[in-house]
Symmetry: C2
Subunit: 205 residues, 2 copies
Amino acid sequence: MSEIASSSPHSRGPVDHSVREQIVEAAGEHFSQYGYEKTTVSDLAKAIGFSKAYIYKFFDSKQAIGEAICSKTLTSIVEAVEVAVAGAPTPTEKFRRMFKTLVSTGVGLFFNDRKLYDIAAHSAGEGWPSARTYAQRIREILTEVVRQGREAGEFERKTPLDETVHAVFLVMQPYINPLLLQYNLDHVEDAPVQLSNLVLRSLAP
Amino acid sequence: MSEIASSSPHSRGPVDHSVREQIVEAAGEHFSQYGYEKTTVSDLAKAIGFSKAYIYKFFDSKQAIGEAICSKTLTSIVEAVEVAVAGAPTPTEKFRRMFKTLVSTGVGLFFNDRKLYDIAAHSAGEGWPSARTYAQRIREILTEVVRQGREAGEFERKTPLDETVHAVFLVMQPYINPLLLQYNLDHVEDAPVQLSNLVLRSLAP
DNA sequence: GGTGTGACTATATTCTAAATTAGTCACTTG
DNA sequence: CAAGTGACTAATTTAGAATATAGTCACACC
């Protein structure tokens, strides 16, 4: 929920305004159904009963609208991960579920909402703020899990925290990043378990 | 060097024939200079002074010629890796150099021979035999390194060998696979070292 | 049987003119 | 001053005709 977490292509005009919400809602439906490229800004305008020009009172560009939608999509993945992590008893288990949830929600998006997935992949490919924020959030959650594991004595403490987190993040990257995930669908069945095992072995004290 | 390692789209006609070699040589130059798509089969025919039809006495298709070139490219990477591994004193060091060499030769190809890189990436994307064979070879070398490490007592022996190798292979995948490597250029500087550290920690007895 | 080709077709690619689209701006209305 | 738009332009996309290409085949020469 909440707001667009990014800063730069944020938008224009009043941040809370019923029309802005209408635009985002219409965009969510259209992008999901017809895809980002195939929906025109005029389509969105027509859908909410205003002129195209009015849309630009609220968003800098079509991409900014795409960002808003992408942000929502990626935020929902982060939320699923947060729930999974919160529900796990130990840091070890938190890590396992984190990885598993990340992959399964990503894959679910790919197969059930391909059009939205494509926007997310595009976003990741272009380095849009929404994608950066997403990666940042995942990294923070991971850092917290590793930190807790160290405190609990489940994980080793010699390697600098940042270094460990960075390396584990690199391992997960092909399944975190929507742009990459689509090329790794073959491994989606076993990768979370196999790689979790490997990472946890490397985290062992 | 040697032969095309694949089986299916192998070719036609005599396997050792000066004209076949001429075709491969011309293809190597043309593909490298103008790219796979921009070179026509007629171009190759003209380059070696024969008719286009004659080329098809030696190769099933243009793709088969692409395969031959791709095979050579990927084989040269494998050879570089083999040399690096052979030159390392310990299995631990073998692994480090293997990963490092894999990335540096891949990146080198990307920046110095982009056109050939693109063929390799395409090959990996389409699952051409040349790419499969390449992945297979890398996996074999990795298996041997891990096996030696276990024998030498440097690596743990509890986890099944295949499982360990598979997981490590997955970790390296984004840097092994030319299709994926191009999306991971940002991490190319630190990934080999960071991931080698992580993997070696996980391999520790 | 081995070496080699011109002429052919179906498919893919390129080119270009016409149509859409993103984005702006001066303007109206209440 | 906030809400809202029609008309405009530059850039992009589309459509579909013209061109080029992959691949085949029947045949010629030695």
